[in-house]
């Protein structure tokens, strides 16, 4: 009995438990996703987050304790963001040839993402701080959290809204684009990357290297553009 308590105290204090559990849950979620023929609602991130939140709630574990273990996974977001340069560089010739079209599509998409969130959120009567936390929803987590903090939002709420946006984009993106007959891998990819950052990019890679590369490009460029646009638009519209 005493021995068991000792073991539990060790497990509870070491980051090993939550790190291992996060990987196990994600692995199972991925198996489920594959065995159901990539059924969109069973998105592995959505399933993993739901299961882990349920486990934390059931065991009364604070998020900080969970994050002590899971931070080792979270940390890899940095080098993974840097690694996006590799598929990007593979499309260098493509980029040089179409830079103007890409810049225009990116600008249009980026403005749409921020201004539509402002307008619709305001019309829906969202709380001011919720709205501010939402404006950078389309860009990758580290950028979005930085922007949110800068304009007076709640960075940790932003992190979640960013994930949810990514999942929404991954779910509805390809069917929506099919609906308006956008079939070019480049256009599909850029749209997924601009609107739904890394989760959209992961989804775009399922449609080939070219779509994935354009998604990575859209994600990277929109991250930079949004970091500049959002504070400016917040100032212009006086939020």
């Amino acid at each position: 009995m005493n021995r068991l308590t000792q073991i539990w105290v060790y497990i509870e204090e070491s980051p090993l438990l939550w790190l291992a559990l996060t990987l196990c849950v994600y692995w199972l979620a991925q198996q489920l996703y594959r065995r159901t023929g990539a059924f969109a609602l069973l998105n592995p991130v959505l399933v993993s987050v739901t299961v882990l939140v349920a486990i934390l709630a059931a065991t009364g574990t604070p998020y900080d304790d969970y994050f002590d273990g899971a931070q080792f996974i979270h940390f890899l977001l940095g080098p993974a963001t840097v690694a996006l340069a590799v598929p990007l560089a593979a499309q260098a010739t493509e980029l040089r040839r179409h830079w103007l079209s890409i810049a225009l599509a990116l600008g249009a998409g980026s403005l749409t993402a921020v201004i539509s969130a402002m307008a619709i959120g305001w019309a829906m009567g969202l709380d001011g701080q919720t709205l501010l936390s939402m404006l950078s929803k389309s860009v990758t987590t580290p950028i979005a959290m930085g922007v949110s903090e800068q304009i007076g939002g709640l960075p940790s709420l932003t992190a979640v809204l960013v994930i949810v946006t990514g999942i929404i984009g991954a779910l509805i993106g390809i069917p929506l684009l099919r609906l308006i007959r956008v079939r070019e891998p480049a256009a599909k990819g850029l749209a997924m990357g601009v609107a739904a950052h890394g989760i959209g990019t992961a989804r775009a890679f399922e449609h080939g290297e070219r779509a994935g590369a354009y998604a990575g490009l859209g994600m990277g460029l929109n991250g930079a553009l949004t970091a500049l646009l959002v504070p400016l638009l917040v100032w212009v519209f006086g939020f």
Binding site: Y63, I73, H74, P79, S101, G109, A117, I199, A227
Partner: protein
């Protein structure tokens, strides 16, 4: 593979340092990505092992979002109050951004291609 991982971390570190020195409104990893992109263009090709390591990391990109996503547990009451308005805004705004971006790029590249 170790060398490739070290290179990725060094580019990230360079990005973080430059951002802190200049106060540029950009996260360090994004600047690191831009620096690596420029370096790869300058070199003309991506070393094979480095490409494989990077792609290996990108294969698990979705997993890396899970820890931050679980953070929703700290905002459950706010989300419970406003979930419908939040959901409608996110879905509508994301749909618009996808449609506008995809449509614009395809329309522009098609016109040029013909």
């Amino acid at each position: 593979m170790i060398g490739s991982m070290a290179a990725l971390l060094l580019f990230q570190l360079a990005g973080e340092i430059i951002v802190r020195l200049t106060g540029a409104p950009l996260p360090g990893p994004v600047l690191g990505m831009i620096l690596l992109f420029v370096a790869l263009l300058g070199r003309g090709s991506t070393p094979r092992v480095f490409g494989a390591t990077s792609r290996g990391l990108l294969d698990y990109l979705a997993l890396l979002f899970v820890p931050a996503g679980v953070g929703i547990i700290t905002h459950l009451s706010r989300v419970a109050d406003e979930w419908l308005a939040i959901a409608i805004t996110l879905v509508a705004s994301t749909a618009l951004a996808i449609l506008v971006t995809g449509f614009t790029l395809q329309a522009l590249t098609h016109r040029r291609g013909r």
